[in-house]
């Protein structure tokens, strides 16, 4: 019941401002598609038999899922800490695990809602098939959970909005942009291609794209393992911090 209430509260929180939390990121992705699709269609080599615009759509969907999952948990927690209303959760008989999963589940819900919105509006522009829908669903779910957990971690550690913004701008954004959303890493020079393999975001985008085209830069099993391990690591660290009361209980 406590978990369900906290999850519902987090859900209600972003639904109440859905123009800002869902519609705005959908519009941003649509603009990316229109501009990049127009400029780069026919100029960039991606998978065999796949048009650039079609290649771009799953990347944009997954980028939206990841960024919004991160934004949901991180912004909710930092706002609660700054305004002080986190006290209502801390005073309640809610375990640290319930706290963690409620925030992550709400982040997953927002990530998937925005991702679905992006898919719906961009589907008008391309002819997309889902070759392996279960793979796409698995990567969307795990990716959103990983970024939701990462957002919670950033929210716990940060004390001010600008600390969180720094994490978002200097870690999340570069890792997302350099993950192969806009290109296939096969088109990169060897050094940058190798470096891309160290970016966990690459595996989420690549694995998600496999669900659409049945083709990817690396095998989806490897991507799945990398994402699952990253999620386990971030979730463990986050649970450990929540259990200790780090920066939440003095």
């Amino acid at each position: 019941m406590s978990f369900y209430t906290l999850f519902s509260k987090e859900l209600l929180r972003f639904v109440k401002v859905s123009v800002q939390t869902v519609a705005a990121p959908v519009l941003t992705s649509l603009l990316y598609l229109v501009i990049f699709g127009q400029v780069l269609e026919g100029r960039v080599q991606v998978f065999d038999g796949v048009r650039y615009t079609a290649f771009l759509v799953p990347g944009l969907v997954m980028m939206s899922v990841l960024q919004n999952a991160f934004a949901n948990s991180s912004s909710s927690l930092i706002q609660s800490k700054i305004t002080g209303n986190i006290v209502f959760i801390l005073l309640a008989p809610i375990s640290y695990a319930e706290f963690f999963w409620a925030y992550v589940a709400a982040a997953v819900a927002r990530g998937l809602a925005v991702g679905a919105g992006v898919l719906v509006v961009t589907a008008w522009f391309v002819d997309l098939r889902l070759e392996a829908p279960l793979w796409a669903a698995a990567f969307a779910l795990l990716g959103a959970a990983l970024l939701g957990a990462l957002g919670l971690l950033a929210g716990v550690v940060s004390e001010k909005i600008d600390q969180l913004a720094a994490f978002q701008n200097f870690v999340i954004l570069p890792l997302t942009m350099l993950s192969g959303v806009f290109y296939s890493i096969q088109s990169l020079p060897a050094f940058w291609r190798g470096l891309s393999h160290a970016n966990p975001f690459f595996y989420m985008i690549d694995g998600f794209r496999y669900g659409f085209f049945g083709a990817s830069d690396v095998t989806p099993w490897v991507s799945l393992a990398v994402v699952a391990i990253a999620l386990a690591a971030v979730a463990s660290l986050c649970l450990l911090l929540l259990k200790s009361g780090y920066k939440l209980r003095t």
């Binding site: 369900y4 109440k16 006290v87 209502f88 959760i89 005073l91 309640a92 008989p93 003095t250």
Partner: protein
């Protein structure tokens, strides 16, 4: 209990038991450790040494049971701007595992004069109204122990009276009340027992009556009104000095018209214990 924040010893050897059904006051100047003590009781802060037990439930190892026993009204005026008053109270009920709490939520809102604002967003409420919602939030799960940290700070007279009536009724119904306040007359009026804190230590712990009596026994103030209308304030360690002081006045040519014994109040006790 011991609690340090860096070099500051916020709580030092604090040990006390509050009986079930008591109306207990926690007084002290700013920085005395009152809020730290409440935070440790509520699990918002963790003691460096010592433990807290709430009706037999340890605040750390049995935190779920301990927190269900406790309703805390925080000192800061905090609220979630996304929700209405009713939503806020429903959410708070859910945190405590209570579904379908509408009847009690309506009753609490009625007693705190919040019913008309039930569907108003928290952002639109005045400071006093927000304070009422904080009190309501602390009561949604009908806790047997209610902790009020400065509940009437910045609150108008009407709400203050309504709040004390409601809290008094809860106390008569068997709820234990723990109160911190800067308004000492409130503590004197409502609290049956008081602990005074200074620099993280308890400097007095006794019934309100005993604290006042002990002060009266050790320090007596008599106001003397002379026939010419002038007033003289005599302060002495006890009544035994009264005759000598009156004789001194007479020798100065003062003709005594009236005598008035000034009763000690909690403020005098507080100032004496915390300023030394």
């Amino acid at each position: 209990m011991e609690k340090r924040y860096g070099a500051v010893h916020a709580l030092s050897g604090v040990s006390l038991a509050i009986e079930q059904g008591e109306f207990f006051g926690l007084l002290g100047p700013n920085g005395a450790g009152k809020t730290t003590l409440i935070n440790v009781i509520a699990g918002l802060a963790r003691a460096d040494a010592g433990s807290v037990s709430i009706m037999g439930a340890d605040a750390i190892s049995d935190y779920r049971r301990a927190r269900r026993m406790l309703g805390v009204v925080p000192q800061e005026l905090v609220f979630d701007p996304f929700f209405t008053v009713r939503e806020t109270l429903r959410i708070q009920s859910g945190y405590f595992g209570i579904r379908g709490n509408e009847a009690w939520i309506d009753e609490v809102m009625h007693h705190l004069d919040l019913s008309a604002k039930a569907d108003a967003n928290m952002r639109s409420l005045s400071g006093g109204m927000k304070r009422r919602v904080l009190v309501a939030q602390a009561l949604v799960h009908k806790p047997p122990v209610i902790v009020l940290d400065e509940p009437t700070a910045g609150v108008d007279v009407e709400l203050r009276q309504g709040l004390w009536q409601f809290v008094g009724r809860l106390n008569r119904d068997g709820h234990t009340i723990v109160l911190t306040t800067h308004y000492l007359e409130e503590a004197e009026l409502h609290c049956s027992r008081i602990a005074m804190l200074k620099a993280g230590r308890i400097v007095a712990l006794d019934s309100t009556r005993n604290l006042l009596a002990s002060f009266a026994g050790s320090r007596t103030t008599v106001r003397v009104v002379a026939r010419d209308g002038t007033q003289h304030l005599l302060q002495m360690e006890g009544y035994s000095e009264l005759e000598r002081e009156l004789a001194r006045l007479r020798s100065q040519g003062v003709e005594i018209a009236d005598l008035e014994l000034e009763r000690p109040d909690l403020e005098q006790v507080f100032l004496r214990l915390t300023s030394s």
